[in-house]
């Protein structure tokens, strides 16, 4: 099996006169946690959407888990999953009902066992039979995470996984993701604005600006390369520089 979980080559997405992603190439090792970092309009969500097969690229190729997307999407989707604060689960269904539906969609042989396991690990016992629309944002994040993990994905894509969470809950989510990766060897890609989060959780960072990759490397190597004290300062330099990277 290839040690690359993701291989993207010359990827572009153009809407009319607007270029959302331009000529993007990168590779992500299996079992790593990688951040897509960039300001608004950098193309993070567009990239994640193309990886998920929700958006067809204008040009370029995507290989996920050794399969080409979107052509072999059907083979890959059972092994991947995603979470985003910009999508919801049906609010009138209870947490259990929602997880049950997605467990079946992902073809789990024993959906009840997996739901019980996630219920235990993500501490959903008290809310499992509550309507999803009546949860606090912290609870909804844990439920969203449970849905994203329902099929124990080899490739997990998360769009701003800790957006609008209090620091305590956000910290818990980061710890959980690291524990999940350590246990399963899954590859995690997350889009984030939160530099502290990226520094703490990710081994790799892809710095994006206006749909192009400006720089990449580990958080430590980028901080060193730009002679800054933290990733936030690196981000600000890149975001404010007209040319992008050094």
């Amino acid at each position: 099996m290839s040690s690359l979980a993701v291989k993207v080559s010359k990827l572009s997405k153009i809407y009319g006169n607007t270029t959302a992603v331009q000529d993007l190439s990168f590779e992500i090792e299996t079992g790593s946690i990688t951040a897509l970092l960039g300001g608004n309009g950098a193309g993070k969500t567009t990239i994640i959407s193309m990886l998920l097969g929700l958006l067809t690229p204008t040009s370029g190729t995507i290989h996920l888990l050794g399969k080409q997307m979107p052509e072999q999407r059907k083979t890959v989707t059972p092994k991947m999953n995603f979470g985003s604060p910009y999508v919801d689960l049906p609010k009138r269904l209870t947490v259990r009902q929602n997880l049950d539906v997605f467990a079946s969609l992902y073809g789990l042989r024993e959906p009840k066992r997996r739901i019980e396991q996630l219920c235990d690990e993500l501490h959903l016992e008290n809310i499992i039979d509550r309507p999803t629309g009546k949860l606090s944002s912290g609870q909804a994040t844990r439920v969203g995470l449970a849905k994203a993990l329902i099929n124990a994905p080899c490739l997990l894509l998360l769009d701003e996984p800790t957006a609008s969470l209090d620091p305590d809950t956000a910290d818990w989510v980061r710890e959980y993701l690291k524990a999940y990766r350590d246990l399963t060897g899954a590859t995690i890609i997350l889009a984030s604005h939160n530099m502290t989060e990226v520094e703490r959780v990710c081994e790799n960072v892809l710095m994006l600006k206006s749909g192009s990759m400006i720089d990449h490397g580990s958080p430590f190597s980028l901080i060193e390369k730009y002679s800054r004290q933290n990733l936030e300062q690196v981000f600000l330099e890149i975001a404010r520089s007209p040319d992008g990277a050094q």
């Binding site: 809407y15 929700l54 059972p78 999508v87 539906v101 992902y106 396991q117 844990r142 809950t169 710890e175």
Partner: protein
């Protein structure tokens, strides 16, 4: 957020228990999962069930009294007593089947669940199949109480039509679902601003379906259009069944053949619009 504070700092994880079934190009289990999703929604509040049955019952009562009035004043109508009630009930089958598909689809847009489904292994044709099956449930919930109520109220039982009723019901259900798939595609393409199409779109064909009057009433050029619709053959067949007490096989076949074309077109438009949606990023821009 108090509940969140009680969560232990470091989660203790066990190996995931998530063995998956082999992937298939058409999975009845995924179709069943989507049907379950819509049934969960229906059972989430009694108001939803009442709402489904309310309008067909009101329509039936209104047209039932109209029939009683006409029975006392027209010898022509006398020969086909119950034709208006049957027409109302069968029109509601068509209407309910159409919105059964379209509204179930809209539920995903209202709940911002579209991207979750489209990123899952669910195939678009499996989803379409689930929408059609759930529209059958919704139609039965809507129309059955009205049909049953007509028996004590007006001494009219549509069930006496037997096989004829099954033939008409199936044809209208398929046609309504085909239109529902087309309407859902339009809503996906043009966003929630076009959602009213789900409710009113089907009324476009009502005047030329011959629900309450024979197709021969229409001007010639409209008759041509009317004959291209399965619904017009069903309602013509219904009038013959009630007035002459016979089943017109020719009209049934016409409706069946036309339905095959409309259903194929509905699927084609539905699947094609998803391809367009993936190209244009429409699956990401839809919300409440």
């Amino acid at each position: 957020m108090n509940e969140d504070k009680s969560i232990p700092r470091i989660p203790r994880l066990a190996a995931p228990k998530a063995e998956q079934r082999a992937d298939r190009s058409f999975s009845p289990l995924r179709v069943a999962a989507m049907i379950r999703r819509y049934l969960y929604l229906l059972q989430s509040g009694w108001v939803r069930i009442i709402e489904l049955a309310y309008w067909p019952i009101m329509q039936m009562i209104l047209w039932g009294f109209m029939t009683e009035f006409l029975l006392n004043s027209s010898s022509v109508i006398l020969r086909a007593g119950g034709v208006l009630i049957a027409a109302v009930l069968l029109w509601d089958v068509l209407f309910r089947s159409n919105i059964g598909v379209a509204v179930s689809f809209l539920e995903e847009m209202w709940s911002r669940n579209l991207a979750q489904l489209c990123a899952s292994p669910l195939r678009t044709h499996e989803w379409a199949a689930a929408l059609i099956i759930i529209s059958l449930f919704r139609t039965l919930i809507g129309v059955l109480p009205a049909a049953l109520l007509a028996i004590p109220l007006y001494q009219f039982s549509i069930f006496e039509m037997g096989f004829t009723l099954v033939a008409f019901f199936s044809n209208l259900l398929i046609f309504g679902a085909a239109v529902g798939l087309g309407v859902s595609a339009l809503v996906l393409r043009y966003g929630l601003g076009a959602e009213s199409l789900a409710w009113v779109g089907i009324f476009l064909i009502a005047p030329i379906s011959g629900i309450y009057y024979p197709i021969s009433t229409l001007p010639d050029w409209l008759q041509f259009l009317a004959h291209a619709l399965p619904s017009s053959h069903v309602f013509e067949g219904m009038r013959i069944a009630l007035a002459e007490n016979r089943f017109d096989l020719g009209l049934f076949y016409n409706a069946l053949m036309l339905n095959a074309v409309f259903l194929a077109a509905g699927f084609f438009i539905f699947l094609g619009t998803f391809r367009i949606a993936r190209r244009q990023g429409l699956l990401l821009q839809i919300g409440e």
